[in-house]
Symmetry: C2
Subunit: 260 residues, 2 copies
DNA sequence: GTCAATGAATTTGTCTGATTATTCGCGCCA
DNA sequence: TGGCGCGAATAATCAGACAAATTCATTGAC
């Protein structure tokens, strides 16, 4: 019955969708359409009435979806002018949803690189801070996450979740709220490391020894050791990922202008 | 810009308000009320009908405001359950609006400390990256910002803006989009450094020499020198601020003074 | 000829009220 | 005890009308 309403945005799988949660669906689809470049910055969307009719939703539902996007910096609306896609530098790339939408389509290499550079800056420092505080409960959770990761291996979804969780717990262990907000950002990087790795035919190196080294250093209360171990870990991930990106790059020529 | 309809949230000055932009006003006031702790995590707001009547706005305007807050992780709504304040760790502290709302009331010391720790992690690394790329246009803009800052001094709003801009340009000069998103976060820290400094009776040390050192190092293409100079700068700001925070802490008992 | 004021058209913003979907909690029954 | 519906409460969606704001073209004055 329903689900025909997304056709305008994405003529993709007609998966049945609950009749409610329209707002979420519209926001999601529009968000993906924007970050994937189907709508470009500066472009203005059709008028509310027109677009909501195209999407087969009421104007209020559509407006609420646009509010969600505006809150994340993706669009800006003004009377008479209409709703237009904001410039990229205004997008809140650190927002978990925006990041997820980005990675739903193939993300821009520039963004992935930036994410890894950010990891390289933040995670070693976070590991050092965590080693300084050395909170036992966080240590327990880290060990559990690593053991779960070891059990499932990073080739499985459960293993990747455990991997993300390990990195998130380290951020949490710093006791720094703003730093914890970067968890989803870091998590996106972690996730895509393993995905890119898996795309390479080469058998990826076992990530566990490096992870355990980080854990041991934090557990031992050695900030500098933790920092160093984490840096080796992230640098390895960066190396693998940028190799995979370089190989994927030629296939992307012409598809998207991609500037910053 | 207050209005009669905000009385429920903030019984402040009853200045007349433009008839539109209601959504923004409500989102702002509610956002401030939440981050300042007037509504606590777990609490549920009154029903849509009830609350929108209290606020003297239509349900649609109220709902759109709630959507904005939900997009930033501050609230979660579900049928039957109602709209409830999300747990703090879900709040998107890196969102410019959330941060601004936080600083509209007196921010929690924990948050300010966290912000400075983040600055201490990110800014030296960003300065080093900027020194590596050494883009001439960015260098020009940095110099202009610093000269403007020198002209107005940090005791003026224009001077503080120039200060923030200088730090933002450095982030921009890294060529890293996610890093640039931290500009508002860093900017909040920069801003509050000067505010806290101004509250101390002592004459603050002239910040310009340190700023010029950072600029010179970047312009000279010396990553390590830039990193070191920026670290000195931020560490100084952190020292000043945490001193002011410690002194302000006793004054925070009980109720909260007005905002700016 | 240039600039300022005016006004109309267009688009988002707001309001109202009705209907639907979802979910929690309770009572019933096995 | 434990699962299964039933009902009530609440957000979610819909529909349509009106208000406000801004752009843009036109007009008028100097």
């Amino acid at each position: 019955m329903a689900a025909r309403r997304r056709d305008v945005l994405a003529a993709m799988a007609p998966a049945e969708r609950p009749l409610t949660r329209i707002h979420g669906t519209i926001a999601h689809d529009l968000g993906v359409a924007i970050v994937s470049g189907r709508y470009k910055p500066g472009e203005t969307l059709p008028t509310e009435i027109e677009f909501s009719e195209q999407l087969k939703v009421s104007r209020s539902a559509y407006r609420e979806a646009v509010r969600t996007l505006a809150a994340k910096g993706l669009v800006e609306s003004r009377p008479k002018t209409g709703t237009r896609i904001a410039e990229q530098y205004r997008w809140n790339l650190l927002d978990p949803d925006v990041l997820a939408w980005f990675f739903e389509a193939e993300p821009l290499p520039k963004l992935v690189e930036g994410l890894f550079e950010l990891r390289l800056i933040v995670e070693p420092a976070a590991a050092a801070l965590a080693a300084e505080r050395r909170d036992s409960r966080h240590l327990t959770r880290m060990r559990e996450a690593l053991m779960r990761m070891e059990r499932h291996t990073v080739t499985t979804a459960a293993g990747r979740d455990a991997d993300r969780e390990f990195h998130a717990i380290i951020l949490e262990a710093t006791g720094n709220p703003p730093l914890l907000c970067l968890a989803s950002t870091i998590g996106a990087g972690v996730h895509w490391t393993t995905v890119y790795k898996a795309r390479k035919d080469e058998l990826p190196a076992d990530p566990m020894p490096q992870h355990w080294k980080v854990f041991d250093a934090i557990a031992a209360g050695g900030p500098e050791e933790a920092r160093a171990a984490m840096e080796v870990l992230v640098r390895g991930a960066l190396r693998d990922t940028s190799r995979a990106l370089k190989r994927a790059a030629p296939a992307r020529q012409g598809k998207r202008p991609g500037a910053a």
